[in-house]
Subunit: 359 residues, 2 copies
DNA sequence: TGTTAGCACTCGTCGCTGTTGAGTGCTAAC
DNA sequence: GTTAGCACTCAACAGCGACGAGTGCTAACA
């Protein structure tokens, strides 16, 4: 059985209706809404076909039809039209963009917060991936006689720091000299390039009278290890799910919220590999990726969809922004909004990047 | 009517029972449990008295009795016995304490995470209050020709940083000299002492050839302003509330979670002034403070209780740790556990403090 | 051959009903 | 002052029928 134009129209209508109402859609309703001059009986036949083909499902015998994951997938790939942001929405965006304040992590957080308010779904943002980040500078700041701060700045403008206790008293000048040496040795290396071997090399290259500061080098490997592992996820607007009847069941809501609370599992969910079923004609151009229901392996996520976009600094992928919501999601709005946000982030970050390369 | 020993015993028993079962307690049950050799009818009379006195309430005519806020308050102040941690609990604590890793904010977070698992309620932690913190050091780290990082370290070991763009090219050495100057001028001042006037003074004291770096000073005021306003709350274990039947209603759960999501309102709830009704004989010695139901002004919190303790560095209050849960809370366990955690924090922070004063 | 009207059937939802049981308050006797 | 007894209250629950939205099938129609 093949998907004629009429079936497409009916499927489209069912999905639109269901997205709006959250209630199973009946043939009568479609017959009225869609002005094809067809009776409900005919629609009924077509819908039975669509069900057989796997695009629709019936919660129970005498209920209307509900889109299946496959149905949504077809909708997303073939039927969905581009959503044009309303004036009000554009205005919100504009206001938000005024808050381009300096610190990178704050930009991130506020973007995620905004996205959750903007879409009414739960928004998330993964922190910049730093594996390929290069070290811009290393600085040792003495705090007192026995402790100092190690500060690492990468070329993404990200900064990590750690306080270190030194066993012996060391004078400030000495620390400065050591600091300069480190800067010289480490600047420009990517985080991937700095490994145990490299550190050993540096140790050997140093005069032995720096020996007492060798623990500092070990701390640096620690920090880098931390940074590498650290894929922070920031989640915003978790309570938005209460707006959707699919989570009206306490158990469902709980499951979902517990899932979001566990950053590790969220990260895992977002790392989910791109699989063939998810291919989407639009994805190349829009860079927005959609995972529907069971397409995502996780149990908890079976009735949720995830819409994400990467964001970039220059050409390098930095992380992901996106939303999580019920499979019955307004995909076209979601895509349009996420596209905007990711473009916004690209712009802000590219400005930073540009600054960096001005030297 | 006065509260005789028998009434106290009955009230105690009702509350214990209710805390354990979450179900209205009947006279028959008490008669059996409490071995006073009294019949349920007698207990019934006493309970009617306790209700008249305001310590108990009846959800509806033919249900058992439930403690009122006043009842809990009496329980907390007069009846409750000290809870002795079990071996298993002590062991958990021990394990947790091994994670005393360096960075102050990580210690905080892991303490809150632990507390929520330990108590099964929702835990929170307010970030160190820094108003009275003194500046330990200021450092300017050049990143490239047109930008640098301002790093502020306070004597609590807290660190703030901000990236700053400088309009003109300035050489590294120049920045270093300026940095040293700043360090000299600002070190030792408390955040409260640094205000616009002070900054102006510094500007004037500087030679005019530093003029181009004056914007940096303005950024410093910005950061300090940020730090002052910033009373970060870290909340952990929000989904624990799903374990308690008082939140089995979706609306209730939602309300509660939305409240916790809004950091500002949480901060406000915790700032709630100490009011006379809350006076507690134990509070001086234990430093644990309990707010029961409506004692806390907020609407959302009418059926929740908050148990908090301050934590200190040396003699100075740094912030609060605590838990939020239903008024039907196991107060004695809660108090015991929070006491431990706050002691632990005091110890960890005092070590930092001690380190700082070693110089 | 595709479309449609008609009809029997399914099944979840809603409101009503009666039953059950836990718990109370009151009264009268101890 | 205590208690046994009893009538009363009320939430929770299960059973029941009416309702209605929606279906699938069949037979008639263009």
């Amino acid at each position: 059985m093949d998907m004629g134009e009429r079936k497409r129209q009916i499927l489209h209508s069912v999905i639109n209706e269901y997205i709006a109402s959250a209630e199973p859609v009946g043939s009568r309703h479609i017959a009225k809404n869609l002005e094809l001059g067809l009776s409900s009986a005919t629609i009924r036949n077509e819908m039975a076909d669509l069900e057989e083909m796997g695009y629709l499902e019936q919660p129970h015998t005498s209920a209307g039809r509900v889109p299946s994951d496959k149905g949504y997938r077809f909708y997303v790939n073939e039927l969905m039209s581009d959503y044009q942001l309303s004036l009000k929405e554009l205005d919100m965006l504009k206001t938000m963009m005024k808050f381009q304040i300096g610190q990178i992590d704050k930009v991130m957080k506020s973007a995620a917060d905004f996205l959750s308010q903007f879409t009414h779904y739960t928004a998330f943002m993964t922190s910049p991936e730093m594996k390929q980040g290069a070290i811009k500078t290393v600085e040792l700041v003495p705090i007192d006689a026995t402790s100092m701060l190690i500060i690492l700045v990468t070329n993404e403008g990200v900064m990590k720091n750690k306080r270190v206790i030194i066993p012996q008293n060391v004078d400030t000048d000495f620390i400065h000299r050591f600091s300069n040496l480190l800067k010289e040795k480490l600047s420009g290396l990517t985080l991937e390039e700095i490994n145990v071997v490299k550190i050993q090399e540096i140790k050997e290259a140093m005069q032995s009278h720096f020996e007492m500061l060798f623990p500092v080098l070990d701390f640096i490997t620690d920090i880098i290890e931390d940074v590498r592992k650290e894929t922070d996820v920031y989640v915003s607007g978790t309570t938005n799910i209460f707006d959707y009847p699919e989570y009206k069941d306490l158990g469902k809501a709980r499951e979902f919220l517990e899932f979001l609370d566990d950053k590790q599992s969220v990260t895992k969910a977002l790392e989910e590999p791109y699989n063939e079923k998810m291919q989407n004609n639009d994805s190349q151009k829009s860079r927005v990726r959609i995972t529907i229901g069971k397409e995502n392996g996780l149990n908890v996520m079976q009735s949720s969809s995830v819409v994400t976009a990467n964001y970039y600094m220059g050409d390098r992928v930095m992380g992901k922004v996106g939303i999580i919501g019920p499979t019955r999601m307004d995909y076209s709005k979601a895509v349009a909004k996420i596209e905007r946000i990711s473009n916004y982030l690209n712009r802000v970050l590219s400005e930073l990047y540009y600054d960096d390369n001005k030297e």
